[in-house]
Every structure is written in structure tokens, then in C-alpha cells.
Amino acid sequence: MTLRSLRVGFFLALRYLKRSSLWTSLLVMVIMLLTFLNVVVVRGVLVGLPVGATATYAREYAGDILITALPDQRHIDRSVLVANTLSSLSGFKAYTGRYLTAATVHANFQELPKTGHLADTVTVTAVGVVPEDEDTVTNISGLMAEGRFLTDTDLKGVVMGDQLLEQYAGGGPESGGTPETSGTLENVHPGTKVRITINGITGEYTVVGVLDGKVGENARRIFMHEQQLRSILNRSEDKKDEIAVRLKDGVDNVAWRDAFKNLGMVNYATIQVPGEAQGHFLDEVTQTFSLLGDGVGFVGVVVAAITVFIMIFVIALNRQKEIGILKGIGINRLAIQSSYVFLALFYATVGICLGILLLYFVIAPYIAVHPIDFPFSDGVLVAPLFDTLIRSLVLIVTTLFAGYLPARMIVQKNTINAILGR
């Protein structure tokens, strides 16, 4: 009897769908599609923020593996050995070595500071790199807001991180600040001369470019040619501070890191994948965003349930008389109620299927090519298929109940009253 009732319910739902207004059906399916996107995509974007931040961190700064000094060391010991060993492991593509030191940059040094103001200076981290190596690993030349990146001949050139400059970071006179409170330099562009003091030695350099990166580490750094920096610091090639390694496409960086550690390199340096290098904070941010995403998803499911409830309630209410007639001619409640549940399931399933197609064939590929431009990361969409299917299932089960309840409420009405519209 139950199976028969369900068959009749399915038959009635099918006939209703076939002969109801196409536009009404389309509208309901679009509502379900948007609900699905709200449940899956909004969460995916939220979770994608920290994931995108890690990806940006790896792309613009850390590479696939970041090698830094051991906690009790100032520099990477045996840097040359470590760097030379990189190429002994398959999967290695390129590396860039960096020398770091504290520096002070003085801009507008040709002018006297205003009365009561200090000179236009900022304290920064100066990074010495081989320009070509750095560009191979981080594609830094593609991140320029103004000007260009260093070339091999730019021994007296410097690239400034955008957060050091008033026009990008604010804090200058235009926003009510003073040079000494802002931490930014005024009116510095490619071609501007600045004085840089490192290790007590001051030299005059020309700004060749401004870096518009999204990674905090780069934003307040200045980039110089490593030869220049090493000569000022009198540092040997064997005392690098960072080595960022780029692996070939498809190489698992965690497995590669473990293999590299097993070569004994762990005795000379801290070897990390980008997620580790960023520290636990980002894990917590990821968890927080995931929780937020779940919260938004839950609200989305509740909204979906209410939407389906109202939709089926309105449909059933408008068909009270037909429901009464069906009961009158001996169609049982299960058949009538199930017809509305099938109706809701149809709308939900079509909406979800359209949503999945839209998600995986339009939205995800689009965002992969054109990441969302958030200030601190390129936002990606995190929507694994399994997660999406689980969420779709939750949505379908919710729809089932949301479709059943209003149908049950209407079907319970007295048969004769329903037929006569009383």
C-alpha cells in the first residue's frame, strides 16, 4: 500500500510539474539554485580566504619549501651545502637565496623637515637577492605596482614594498599623520633617490619599482641586489637567511620536504612547507573561517527550509479543493502528501544539480583563473566535491521535511470543507 501510495504521489507530482506554469517552476528552481550556492559557495569563499592566503604566501614569498635558520642560529649554516643539495632531489626546479638585515630608509633627504617634525624615514627589512633567481621562484617582477623589479646590473637600485609608501599605506599628511607617526614615506616613486643606512653605512639608491604584493613579509621590505648587500654586511655566501624553493609541477611538497630533511639538512636549517612557515595563526584563521562558513551554511539551510516550506504551503493552499477531491475519491493521505514531497524534491534536486554544474563548470574555473582580489590574499573557492555532495544531501533531506510539513497541514483539513472551500 505504501509503495502504491508513493507511486500515485509521484504520478500526481509529475502531472503537476508537467502542466503547471513553466515560469513558476523556473522561478522556484532558481530560488533553490541560489539557496544551494548560498550554502556551498559562500562557505567556499570564506574558507578560501585563508587557503588563498597560504597559496599567495607560497607563490609570492615562500615557494613550495621555505628554508630558514635554525631557532638558535642567526643564519642558515652551511647555506651553500644546503643550496647545492636541493638539486640532488628529483622534483626540484629552482631556488632563491635571501640575505636579510635591518635598514633605515630616508626619503626626501634633500628637503629639511618641517619644524617639530623628524626626517622622513622608516625602518625596514632589507633583502638581498639575485634578481633572476628571485623572479624565477616568486615571479616578483609580475607584482610591481610601479616601475620594475631589479636586474642583475641594479647594484644601486632598490625595490620598495608598497606598505612603506604613503600613497599605498596612508598615514601621511594627506590622512592627517606625520612622517614620524605614519611609518611610511612620502612621495616616493620609481626614479626617486633614497638614502639607506645598513650596518652604519649609508648609501644613496634609486627606487626602481614598488612591489604590490599581498604577503605581509614583502610589503614592508626593500629588495636590493645580493652582491651589494653582502658587501655592506661583509657576509659570506654561506650565511643566507632564507632559501625559497620552487618544485616542479605536481610534486608533493610535504613528501619532498621529508626527503630533504632525511638527507641530513635538518641539522643545518629549519625546513618547512608554506603552511608550517606561516605558523598556527593561519590554521586558527582557517578553522575560524570554516566555522563561520558552517554557520553561514546552516543559516542557508534554514532559509532553504523556510523557502521550501512557504513554497509548498502556498502551492498546497491554492490546491485545497483538489486535495479535498482527491481525499473524497479515496486517494489516501500518504499519496497526496508524497506528491508535494516529490514536488519539493524535484525543485531541490534540479536546483542543486544546476548549482553543481554552475559551481564546477563556471564559478570554480572562473575564480581559479580570476581569483577574488582580497587585500591580503587572492581568494580561492574551496568546494571539494565530497563536501558539496554532503551539503547537497543535507539540503535535500531538509527539503523533504520542509515539503512534507505544509502538505501534511493542508491534507489534515476536513475533506468536505476543503472541497467546498469552507
Binding site: L3, R4, S5, R7, V8, F11, R15, Y16, K18, R19, S20, K321, E322, I325, L326, K327, G328, I329, G330, I331, N332, R333, A335, N414, T415, I416, I419
Partner: protein, 230 residues
């Protein structure tokens, strides 16, 4: 004894002091007020009376579409008061056929689908349903209207579809509530002829009508006034 194994000397449907009251605000209306009648198997009974006399309400109670305020409806001597809702639905599906006053067809279904629906509910077999539905529509003269929806049919055609639907599960009692209301005289005559035919085939017929010329076509007339049998 089977529930429907009715002997000729025992009423197939009987009411005892049947009362149906409606309350709207503080106004209480007794639509049916102490009605006791008996209907025997194979009878053709017309229930007539003026508008508001309670004849349709009585038919609703007799066909188990509604429950009485008090009194009894006995089907083959069995008091239906204790029948569960599914049992009442099952009787309406398998043993009773009902023709509503305003045809009461499902607008999204074609004539054929409207007719076959109770049979589909009873058997779950779609193929047989279509075959039987076609046969019944042919019997009421609508062979060429199988796939038309109610809105595409005239009042008389809709009423014939409604009759075919009531007959699809081979009912033992056929209820018709004002089957000729809103129909022209020729169409009304066609409908009454179909009902007479059913009676001749041994189906018990209870027909509510306010038109004396059609009531007189029945074997027996129960006249109602102010909720009572007069």
C-alpha cells in the same frame, strides 16, 4: 460473512437518528436533524428537497465523506463510527463512487487520468488503468476527449468524466450530488440515463436532486426539509 456480502432484506446503508450540526460563531445550524433511513442493495433512491434542506449534507454523511455530530451511519449493519480514517478512505475508494455537484475534477489531469486515478490508487498498475479508463470514457461517450483537460471540456462532458471516475473501481454504491445542476436539459437527460443504466446493472444509487422530474426517475424518493425527512 464478507463485509459486502449483503442480503436483499438487509439495508446496505442505514442511518439512525443522524444529526449534523454546524456552528458559525454563536449560530448553530442543524443541517441534518434526526434522520433515520434505510437503503437496500440495488435500489435507486432520490433525495430531494429545497435548497438548504440538508440533502447534500446527508449524502456526505452516507458516503463517509463527513462524520455526524451524533447518530449512526451503518453500512451493512456495521456502525461506521468506529471506523479508522484509512478504512473510511478505503471504502470510498473501493466500494463507493461519488459524483460531486461541480464535477470536482483535478485540473492538471486529463479526462483519462482523472478517471483512472482511483483505479491506479487501488491497483498501482498504470497500464491496466489506462485501458480501463479508456473503456469507461467510451461508455459515457467521451472516447474522443481522452486527453483533454477539464478546462477544455463542457459542463456535461466534465460531469460524464466525473461519473466515469466514480465507476472505475466498480462501486457497489453510487452517490451523485445534484448531477444535473448547471447542465442544460438535453445534457441532464443524458446524465440521468447513464445513472439509470448503472441502476439497471445492479448498482445501488443514491442521487440528490432538487429537480422533481429527475427525482421521479428513481424507485424511491426521500424528501427532506429543514434537515428532516418528511
Amino acid at each position: 460473512m464478507q463485509f459486502w456480502d449483503v442480503s436483499m432484506d438487509k439495508p446496505i446503508i442505514q442511518t439512525v437518528d443522524l444529526v449534523k450540526r454546524y456552528q458559525v460563531g454563536e449560530v448553530v445550524t442543524k443541517a441534518v436533524n434526526g434522520v433515520s433511513i434505510e437503503v437496500y442493495k440495488g435500489e435507486f433512491v432520490a433525495i430531494d428537497g429545497k435548497s438548504g434542506s440538508g440533502k447534500s449534507t446527508l449524502l456526505h454523511l452516507l458516503s463517509l465523506l463527513d462524520r455526524p455530530t451524533s447518530g449512526q451511519v451503518l453500512v451493512n449493519g456495521d456502525d461506521t463510527a468506529h471506523y479508522s480514517r484509512p478504512r473510511r478512505v478505503d471504502i470510498r475508494l473501493n466500494r463507493f463512487g461519488y459524483v460531486f455537484q461541480d464535477y470536482a475534477l483535478i485540473p492538471e489531469l486529463t479526462a483519462l487520468e482523472n478517471v483512472m486515478l482511483p483505479y491506479f490508487m487501488d491497483t498501482g498498475c498504470l497500464h491496466d488503468c489506462l485501458h480501463i479508463g479508456e473503456g469507461l470514457l467510451e461508455r459515457v461517450g467521451l472516447k474522443n476527449r481522452l486527453h483533454n483537460r477539464p478546462a477544455q471540456l463542457s459542463g456535461g462532458e466534465q460531469q460524464r468524466v466525473s461519473i466515469a471516475r466514480a465507476l472505475v473501481n466498480k462501486p457497489e454504491v453510487f452517490f451523485a450530488d445534484e448531477p444535473t445542476a448547471n447542465l442544460d436539459s438535453d445534457t441532464s437527460e443524458t446524465i440521468i440515463s447513464i445513472i439509470e443504466e448503472l441502476h439497471q446493472q445492479g448498482i445501488t444509487v443514491l442521487m440528490v436532486t432538487h429537480e422533481p422530474q429527475f427525482a421521479q426517475r428513481a424507485e424511491r424518493i426521500i424528501t427532506m426539509s429543514d434537515g428532516r425527512v418528511v
